[in-house]
Each structure stands twice: as structure tokens, then as C-alpha cells.
Symmetry: D2
Subunit: 142 residues, 4 copies
């Protein structure tokens, strides 16, 4: 179990806009990439979760843009599970350039639903996943 | 039945890239918007087609970029069904700025498959749709 | 001067993801479309602002997703300027389906910078724009 | 000098559409990623080229979709410079899944322009780049 994951990649040209910087909507993509990377690093392949009937839609986002990314930049996303209530969970993100410059901070909030959109009570329906998420969350607090 | 449809909209800011022009991948979006607009204008709501079990994936594209679009530009896409064989069909696209300047020409090729990805023989399985597409295609020739 | 603008459009097919709903990053696009529509409706063409050397990057976002949008849905974005300090301004967004169902609520925070990224003190450098934004903001309060 | 480059990555969740497969427009992104990777691997950083005043817009695309990519898939793009006339150049792409299954074949055609959009005669203005591209192109023929 990893307290946090560090996800890295470079900016793609098509992610820039006419201001010459990465368009702000693309950071929401980076958050998703980093989140699914974190889950995979902890043994949860999201496509396998979906195949077993668990969907995890985004219910909220917060984003703070500190310094722009440009084409040619590499960056890392430090991602952790910052809270988990059994019904909802929150991921926290910090993006930095290679030299450590703070680029972005944000959070995303999620719930678990079945393929009809009905909320899943993880503790009852998927106790293993419940235990795992609880363990990941307590790790971040320490 | 309409021989061709004219689909219009303006460029969105996020569709530009650091060159200051619409990124070339977004024209593939415009082709899709115009194609589904054409189908709707001829009585075929694509979401209804999908609900009835017909998927229509893209099997080929050709794109020729004549003059760039920029944020602030409005454009129209003239779209028509240029061929239909019962198994495959080809749409043709011409994009122009408001003043008539040629922006883009392209084609997209599609087939019909069921939700398992198996080819659908339209004439046998959906004779009404077969007749309708045949009619649309012969219209373009005239 | 308009207290708020109502921006309308339908979902594009390519905006959906494998969950069958509009991917959450695309709402950030909708916010931008609606914001630039609001500015244009109040006489501020954003491409003209940029040409005069004023850039207005996004410094923060908050998003709350209430009910998913799907391909085939039409929606409206009700957008207003909710605060303006001379240095920063905040837009507020409410998205609804045609039948009034609440889809999304969010805010975006922006600043004004010149083409070197230096903050612009609007009151000093662009007093007309300062007055206009002040007027728009006070309208929302009423 | 490399005859061809092999660029690899996995599918991102947000690249899928409601058909459950990667939306066809995203392959145009993959082509760009692979092309810029190829240029970098041969010593041409595209952001450096742009800084020196050389832009290289896309003038044409052809795409053939053989087998869909899905979330969870990894793929490679085999990219090479297939022709170079001094004024225009064509890249060729072949995408495969990890197991070798053919996914996509395509080409992209480009020209060189300056930041006013005027064509650049590479042989005269940038003879080193002209030699390098000629060398890359002749390699592919062999």
C-alpha cells in the first residue's frame, strides 16, 4: 500500500491553447490519469472495477492554478486519497514541474455507484475494497 | 430528404492551440457534429439508432486543411452522403468561413455493426434504413 | 448590460466517455463557452480583449456535478459575474437540462495579466473595462 | 539518425466515448505525439524549432481504423518520415496493441511556414534541417 503516488509525463502539443499554455481543462485530465495510476499502483485496476459493476463518477472538483505549463514541460502529479467515508472519497493532487515549481493544487470527490447509477455501500457490498480504501486513507493522515 | 445539410457554429477558445489556430484534430469533431446533424435533419437520431442496437464506427478518414480557423471565426460545414454500398457509407465534408473562404475538405467512411461489433447487413436487418440511405446517396449524385 | 446570460447547446457525441455520460472535464469547456458568450453579450469580445493585450487566465475552479448529461441532451448554462475586486473576478455557473433538472453548479476565478503574464490593475490601465465589470458585478447582487 | 521511432503509451479513460472505445479523433492526437517524439529522438525539439520561427502545420491526414482501442489497452505507434520534397513532408504511422494486433494506419502531410504563415524553402533558409530531413527520408526507402 502506498501513501501517495507520483505520476509523471510531459505536456502534449495539442493540450496548449492560443495563450501558449496548457488549457486549464486539461488539468482535469491529468487529475484523472494520476488517480487511476494511484489506484493501479495499489492493485485496483479501474477497468476491472468497472467490469465488476462498480462505477465511480466525479461529484466535485476544486482546482487552483499556480503557474502555467507549456509545451516542452515535464511535470509530476503527487496524488493521495485524502478522505474516505465509505460512501464518498476525496483525492488530493499537487502538480509540480521537474524543478519543483508548484503548478497546481486540487481535489476531486467521488462516490461509488452501480451500473444503474444507484449508490453502493462499499462496506456491505465490497468489504475488501472498503478495507483497502480505509487503509489508504489513514495512511495519508500520518 | 435533404441532399446536403449545412451545419454552422463558431470556434471555441479551447479548440485553439499554441499556433493560435484551431488544432487539426478538432476538425474531426466538426465532421462528427455535422454528420450527426445531417442524420438528425433526415429523421435519424443517432442516439435512437444506437438504442436500437446499430453502431456506426468510423473506419476511415481523409482530411485536407486549406486555411486555418481562429478563435472568433464562424464556419459552416456542408455535409452529404457521397456513397452507400449497403455495408459501408462515405460522408463528404466541405468547411467554409462565413465569407465563403474554403477551410477544409474531407471524407469519413463508416460501417454498421451490432453491439458485439459484428457487421450488420442493412438491407436484410433494417430494410427501411437501407432504403433511406440509398435515397440519400442517389440524391447527391444528381 | 445583462445581469446574467443563458447559453444553450446540445451534447456532442465525442464529449461522452465509456460510462455513457459526458466526461466531467468537458463541463470546464462549457463554463468557458458560457463565460465568453456572457462577455460578448455585454460587448466584450474576448479575442478583441486579447488583441489589445489583456489576457485573463483561470486561477481557480470549483465544480459540483449533480446529474449527468448524455448524448442527445440539450442544456443551458446560466452564467453571471459574481464578484469583481479590480484584480480578480469570479463567474458563477448553473447548468440545467431543458426540463429544468439541475446538472451542475460551479465557479471560475480569473485575473487580468498582460502578454508577459504581469498582473494588470484594471482601474488604472483600462478604466472603462473597470467600470463595466463593476457595473456587471453590482447587477448580480441586486 | 533513426529510420523509425516506436512510441508507446496506454489509453486514458477520458479518451473513450460511449461506444466504449477510444474516440476516433484521439488517434490524431496519438499521431502528433508520435511525430514529435520521432523528431525529438532525431535531435529536433519541436518547441525549439518553433522558437526559431519555423512552424509546421498539418495540411493533410489519412486514417484507417482497423481494430478499436479500449481503456486498459497499451499500444505502440511506429512512425517514420515517408517522403520529403523540401517543401512538404509526409509521416507514416502504424499503431499496434502490445500483442501486435494492427489497430490503425495513417499518414500526415506537413509543410514549413514562418510565423506569418509564409512557406519556408528549407534548403535555402535552413540547409542543416534540409539535409537532416533528406537523410531521414532516404533511410525509410532502404
Amino acid at each position: 500500500m502506498q501513501k501517495k503516488s507520483v505520476y509523471e509525463r510531459g505536456v502534449y502539443y495539442y493540450e496548449t491553447d492560443k495563450m501558449g499554455i496548457v488549457h486549464h481543462a486539461n488539468y482535469v485530465h491529468y487529475m484523472e490519469e494520476a488517480r487511476l495510476f494511484f489506484l493501479a499502483a495499489n492493485g485496483y485496476d479501474y477497468s476491472a472495477l468497472e467490469s465488476s459493476g462498480i462505477l465511480s463518477p466525479v461529484v466535485g472538483l476544486s482546482c487552483r492554478y499556480h503557474s502555467p505549463l507549456r509545451y516542452g514541460d515535464s511535470f509530476r502529479v503527487i496524488v493521495s486519497l485524502s478522505s474516505f467515508t465509505g460512501l464518498r472519497f476525496v483525492f488530493r493532487y499537487r502538480m509540480e514541474k521537474k524543478d519543483g515549481l508548484l503548478v497546481f493544487e486540487g481535489t476531486s470527490e467521488h462516490c461509488f455507484v452501480d451500473d444503474k447509477g444507484k449508490p453502493i455501500f462499499l462496506k456491505r457490498s465490497f468489504p475488501d475494497l472498503y478495507e483497502a480504501f480505509s487503509a489508504l486513507e489513514s495512511l495519508e493522515e500520518s
